[in-house]
């Protein structure tokens, strides 16, 4: 199976590395015709404004919309989620932002605020654990993350995160499905587990690094 990763800007390398880890070939997608060679697509995290601009320069939106309409699986992380939402509100730049759509939900860009409000949270994921096993919680990293405020009836919510109480936009806990910048499996943080997996291919790390701890 070949999975495309939209490689306009953002964390596309990390997604390709994650695919490689599970034995799937990931290919970078930058032009409309490259979409024809893939069965599924991942739209990675990044700066959604930038990605939208680059998609527009190279006329990618029609091809992406067709891809979604054909019912092929599409995964959106962070900025990718914003792209897939039917409706985006809040903090949109002047002149608005173009979306692909297809996922019946309302997403709030940059929901939690600026970088200083970025955080990590352990999310409980009972349905996934029941179905697939693995650790009971998921280490979510929220970097200038979007929030999903409303979902349509056909959308299944896998995990939720309570919104911080000082959040001015909404006081209700916002639904937040599993889209986030980094994913983690075991106790270590995500990208570390990715990279150590990668390293095993060439040479196993021989040393426990000296630990500086404050």
């Amino acid at each position: 199976m070949v999975v495309g990763v939209l490689a306009l800007q953002g964390s596309f390398n990390e997604h390709i590395a994650a695919l490689k880890r599970v034995g799937v070939k990931g290919v970078e997608i930058r032009k409309p015709d490259q979409l024809q060679s893939v069965k599924a697509l991942i739209i990675p995290g990044g700066e959604s404004t930038t990605m939208a601009k680059l998609a527009e320069y190279h006329n990618l939106f029609p091809a992406l919309r067709d891809f979604v309409k054909m019912g092929k699986p599409v995964w959106g992380t962070c900025a990718g989620l914003i792209f897939l939402a039917d409706k985006a509100i809040g903090e949109a730049k002047i002149g608005g932002q173009e979306l692909i759509g297809g996922l019946n939900c309302t997403v709030h860009r940059n929901f939690f605020g600026s970088q200083i409000q970025s955080f990590v949270a352990e999310l409980s994921i009972p349905e996934i654990v029941a179905k697939e096993g693995g650790p009971p919680s998921f280490h979510g990293v929220f970097i200038r993350a979007p929030g999903i405020l409303e979902v349509g009836p056909e959308v299944e919510v896998l995990a939720e995160v309570p919104a911080p109480s000082d959040q001015t936009t909404k006081s209700d806990p916002a639904d937040e499905s599993v889209e986030m910048v980094n994913e983690t499996s075991q106790e270590a943080s995500s990208s570390t587990s990715l990279s150590s997996e990668d390293l095993k291919l060439s040479e196993p790390p021989k040393y426990e690094l000296p630990v500086f701890q404050q």
Partner: protein, 310 residues
């Protein structure tokens, strides 16, 4: 940006988590989001809007662009917080701002006004010629400049969550940027092929902490996101930096000191995405108008900003 280059955050407690509850992974995370993008220097809200419309993944707010700092001289400082706030309101992309090297109070002010990243920059006049800011003490992430691998790892040990090679800002001359990127990448290639027994001495030679040198060896790249900066003036310059292995590009004076900023900004953004496609690069390089005036670095009178800090 070679194939499977994966950016890491330090695991296994190898780096200090800050006392102020902003884990290093959160700091590095934003830099990861910026990969494959262009960060543009802007001095007011209007320029910030042009940068956003062109597709910049972040803007850098500063008092004067480096070319003007060179021309006008004097002490260059953090810009007026009011101006930074205006820029922040004008755009939705992340906003960075520069603080002087070692000036931790400027950094505290920038943290207080809620910007997204601080650049502890040699382009501004130094506040401390021996010590950099202890970046572990901040919740806000920092990007720092480097000329070589040792300098990069020293900054990361001080808490920098993103590295940019220094180049020579405000010159429109790419030679120093190439020199610094090649130095970092070359040292990493040497390190990768090095016997583990030799790493201790190598760490001593480049004056970098052993743990980070070893981690760099294992990863085959810097352990944080690595952008290029200092002298990028054309789409070809930007693509050159990407092909040399950088994760993205800072453009300073190159955009707003050129004949048609909006158009050039857009072309540079596209060049970073399509850096390995000469056909696209040729198309977007056509008819961009006048590039910024360059400065020849053979002239001894030109001050080297890159040498201001170690």
């Amino acid at each position: 940006m070679a194939g499977s280059g994966v950016v890491t955050v330090y695991g296994n407690g190898a780096i200090t988590e800050t006392t102020k509850q902003s884990p290093f992974s959160v700091k590095v995370g934003l830099a990861q989001m910026l990969r494959g993008g262009v960060i543009m220097d802007v001095v007011n809200a209007e320029q910030a809007r042009i940068a956003e419309e062109a597709g910049a993944c972040a803007v850098m707010a500063l008092e004067r662009v480096p070319a003007d700092i060179r021309a006008q001289g004097g002490v260059a400082r953090m810009s007026d917080p009011q101006l930074i706030k205006e820029i922040k309101q004008a755009v939705t992309i992340p906003v960075m701002a520069k603080a002087r090297i070692g000036h931790f109070v400027e950094a505290q002010i920038l943290e207080a006004i809620g910007i997204d990243y601080v650049d502890e920059s040699e382009v501004l006049t130094l506040a401390d010629d021996e010590n950099h800011i202890n970046k572990h003490n901040f919740r806000i992430p920092f990007v720092c400049g480097c000329r070589n691998l040792g300098e990069a790892l020293r900054r990361i040990r001080e808490g920098a969550a993103m590295i940019r090679t220094k180049g020579e800002a405000g010159t429109g001359n790419i030679i120093e940027a190439v020199r610094h990127v090649r130095s970092v990448m070359g040292d990493i290639r040497v390190l990768r092929n090095m016997d583990d027994d030799e790493v201790f001495t190598f760490a001593k030679k480049i004056q970098a902490p052993y743990d980070l040198v070893m981690q760099t060896k294992q990863l085959g790249r810097l352990p944080v996101v690595h952008f290029a900066a200092g002298g990028v003036a054309t789409p070809a310059d930007a693509a050159l930096m990407m092909q040399l292995g950088c994760d993205g590009v800072f453009v300073g004076s190159g955009v707003f000191k050129s004949g048609d900023p909006a158009r050039r900004a857009r072309a540079i953004v596209q060049a970073v995405t399509h850096y390995s496609d000469p056909q696209v690069l040729a198309d977007i390089s056509c008819g961009l108008g006048e590039a910024m005036v360059g400065i020849n670095l053979n002239d001894d009178k030109v001050e080297r900003y890159a040498n201001r800090s170690e």
